[in-house]
């Protein structure tokens, strides 16, 4: 066997981890710079053309209208790329954080597009001493501009349904269908850019924008549709059986082919689609709850709504398509010697597959798992088995949450004086992996930060798509 049985010296392992992480963070930062730069370039090209007219009121307003339109369009295309699940983005910042940025950009992009429409209508009417109504009427006589108005209406629908308050009020599938029309919204905006935009009717600026559109839609088509479809066909996964593990949770055992070629790291997740008549249209981001083998894998799901409820009664043999693996909840992001893992409820699932693949010496990892009540101790017995095998310390904290700064633990543990440092004495030289509900995870992170743990040592995974 060529595999090294002797472990490399801890310092060399650490140095290698740190440099890998520095590289990853550098790529992530460069991507952020690229987002900013792309927005700047979109107006820069306009400014550089020397066609900016600022000395009249109409000209000034028109210029602003053009600039806001250019930046807004650029941000929309950036949003598409962020949502495309591009491997480079997932591997450097993580798909969940990319989607966080996607959501953050939504409103600014929308405001810019509103400004674009309003300012150009006002600017043009000022220039030709017309009025806004007459100008709007004349806009509607142009086919490309009618499409642009349609595109705008679709954007309104997409953004409004994505506002947190509104989104909660509708079923997921309603939001999802509306959200899919954003592809149409982006496409419908293109003709008016190319035919009406003073800059884009010809020349290399036109080529630049067409290239941006191709990049955005190419990424979506390639990484969201083609690549997952090919992988799903190649690995031919099917449901082998569904196993109840608690009143509100079940594991799905999957069969497939050549799964080792997916390059899965422990702690990663896939976005799954189960092809039964009632469930095929809903994709679920779910972590593997055990390291996959060559021909089998397992995921564990908590029933949270009608969608997951339906999955619990899938028949054996149900075809499964997937995209992934995604996520940075893995050994690869470590840059310290020790590992502190804190998971709550069904958040145990990625932890379960993560610890199987951690590069560890005895005593380097400590886990704290939490449940509000004894019914939510999903997979805990498996944890105990791994703990013995790998020399990991495992603590549990069951019961209603406390109120203090360590309120992410049970009230009982908190009142006993347990805190993050008493559970994880090596906190200062640990990577912290947190998985659980959002608000809870935030509390854990807050305490870790308060105890001096740097942000690059904290690894949280949100399951998002």
């Amino acid at each position: 066997m060529t595999s090294t049985t002797v472990r490399k010296s801890p310092t060399r392992v650490l140095a290698a981890r740190r440099s890998a992480n520095r590289r990853r963070q550098l790529i992530g930062d460069l991507l952020v710079v690229l987002v900013w730069a792309s927005a700047a370039i979109s107006v820069a090209l306009y400014f550089a053309s020397g066609l900016v007219v600022l000395n009249t009121g109409g000209g000034f307003v028109t210029t602003l209208g053009i600039a806001t339109g250019l930046v807004g369009s650029d941000l929309v295309l950036v949003m598409l790329v962020l949502a495309s699940r591009m491997p480079l983005i997932d591997a450097s910042v993580g798909h969940d954080r990319a989607m966080g940025l996607h959501r953050k950009l939504g409103k600014p992009a929308f405001y810019l597009l509103i400004a674009h429409a309003v300012l150009l209508t006002v600017g043009y009417s000022m220039s030709i001493h017309s009025n806004i109504v007459a100008e709007t009427v004349s806009f509607f006589q142009n086919r490309d501009l009618v499409l642009a108005y349609l595109s705008f209406a679709l954007f309104v629908a997409v953004i409004v349904t994505s506002l947190v308050n509104v989104k909660r009020r509708f079923p997921y599938e309603f939001w999802h269908v509306i959200h899919l029309t954003s592809y149409a919204a982006v496409l419908f905006a293109l003709p008016h850019m190319l035919s009406q935009g003073q800059l884009l009717t010809a020349g290399w600026q036109r080529s630049y924008w067409i290239a941006l559109y191709l990049l955005a839609f190419g990424s979506i088509a390639g990484f969201r549709f083609i690549r997952p479809a090919l992988a799903s066909m190649r690995h031919r996964m099917r449901v082998e059986r569904v196993e109840r593990i608690a009143a509100d949770a079940f594991s799905v055992h999957l069969r497939g082919h050549d799964l080792e070629r997916l390059g899965i790291q422990g702690g990663q997740y896939f976005i799954w689609r189960f092809w039964t008549p009632g469930t095929w249209w809903h994709a679920h981001p779910i972590s593997l709850s055990a390291s996959p083998r060559k021909d089998s894998a397992r995921i564990t799901i908590r029933i949270v709504g009608s969608g997951t409820q339906a999955l619990a009664s899938m028949p054996a043999g149900t075809p499964v398509s997937f995209s992934g693996p995604y996520g940075l909840f893995t050994d690869a992001v470590r840059s310290a010697r020790h590992v502190a893992i804190i998971a709550a409820g069904i958040g145990i699932t990625p932890v379960r597959s993560l610890i199987e693949r951690l590069d560890l010496s005895v005593g380097e990892a400590t886990i704290l798992v939490r449940a509000s009540n004894p019914d939510q101790v999903y997979l805990w017995e498996e944890l105990n088995e791994i703990k013995r095998r790998r020399g990991i310390k495992v603590y549990t904290s069951v019961g209603p949450r406390g109120r203090g700064p360590s309120g992410w633990m049970s009230a009982r543990d908190e009142s006993r004086g347990v805190n993050m440092l008493s559970v994880f004495p090596h906190l200062a030289e640990s990577d912290i992996f947190i998985c659980g509900p959002d608000a809870w995870s935030q509390m854990v992170e807050d305490e870790a930060r308060a105890r001096g743990v740097g942000p690059s040592y904290i690894h949280r995974e949100k399951f998002d798509w």
Binding site: G28, V35, L145, P455
Partner: protein, 183 residues
């Protein structure tokens, strides 16, 4: 998405915009059509000689285009500053066709009707028509530019905002016609 990334992004985009702005300024300047030029300052050799009717070495009109003498010459009488005793150059008369200037919205071409070295009318031979909007643009920009050119007796007038390409093409074509007329 660290602070480094955000700061780097802000610095990079600021730099990009500043550089582009500078580039834009110099492009605009080299186009010779900087809109900052005051409208009234007529070009150098406007024929201030009022209707001496004498020497008319009229440069022959290059094309017979629309040779109809201008109907409304009223605006021409208004301007020239009497303080500028510019030596009256050749007082050309006739119709002078400007070059067809390519713009992204189509060609722009004008003809000048000149009487005794004075531009009395500007006729549009070809106008930007690439898209619906540019037709609309030229239909409002052309009359404005015509008025400005006649008033200034020059191509060095303000561009019409929102009609940059149209203005550029229009005024370049005017300039080429002025050159032919020797004004």
């Amino acid at each position: 998405m660290t602070v480094r990334g955000t700061v780097g992004g802000i610095v990079a985009s600021t730099a990009i915009i500043i550089i582009a702005w500078q580039a834009g300024q110099s492009t605009a300047a080299s186009n010779g059509l900087r809109s900052a030029l005051p409208v009234g300052s007529t070009g150098t050799s406007t024929a201030t000689t009022p209707n001496t009717q004498a020497s008319t070495p009229s440069t022959p009109a290059t094309t017979p285009a629309a040779a109809a003498p201008s109907s409304t010459t009223s605006s021409a009488a208004a301007q020239p500053a009497p303080a500028a005793p510019s030596p009256a150059k050749a007082s050309a008369s006739g119709t002078f066709q400007g070059d067809a200037i390519q713009t992204p919205f189509g060609n722009m071409q004008v003809a000048l009707v000149v009487a005794s070295g004075k531009v009395t009318d500007v006729k549009v031979l070809q106008s930007t028509n690439y898209a619906q909007y540019s037709i609309q643009v030229s239909s409002y920009a052309d009359p404005i530019l015509r008025g400005e050119v006649i008033k200034a007796q020059s191509a060095k007038v303000q561009m019409v905002s929102g009609a940059t390409y149209t203005s550029q093409g229009y005024l370049q074509s005017v300039q080429s016609a002025l050159d032919k007329a020797g004004i």
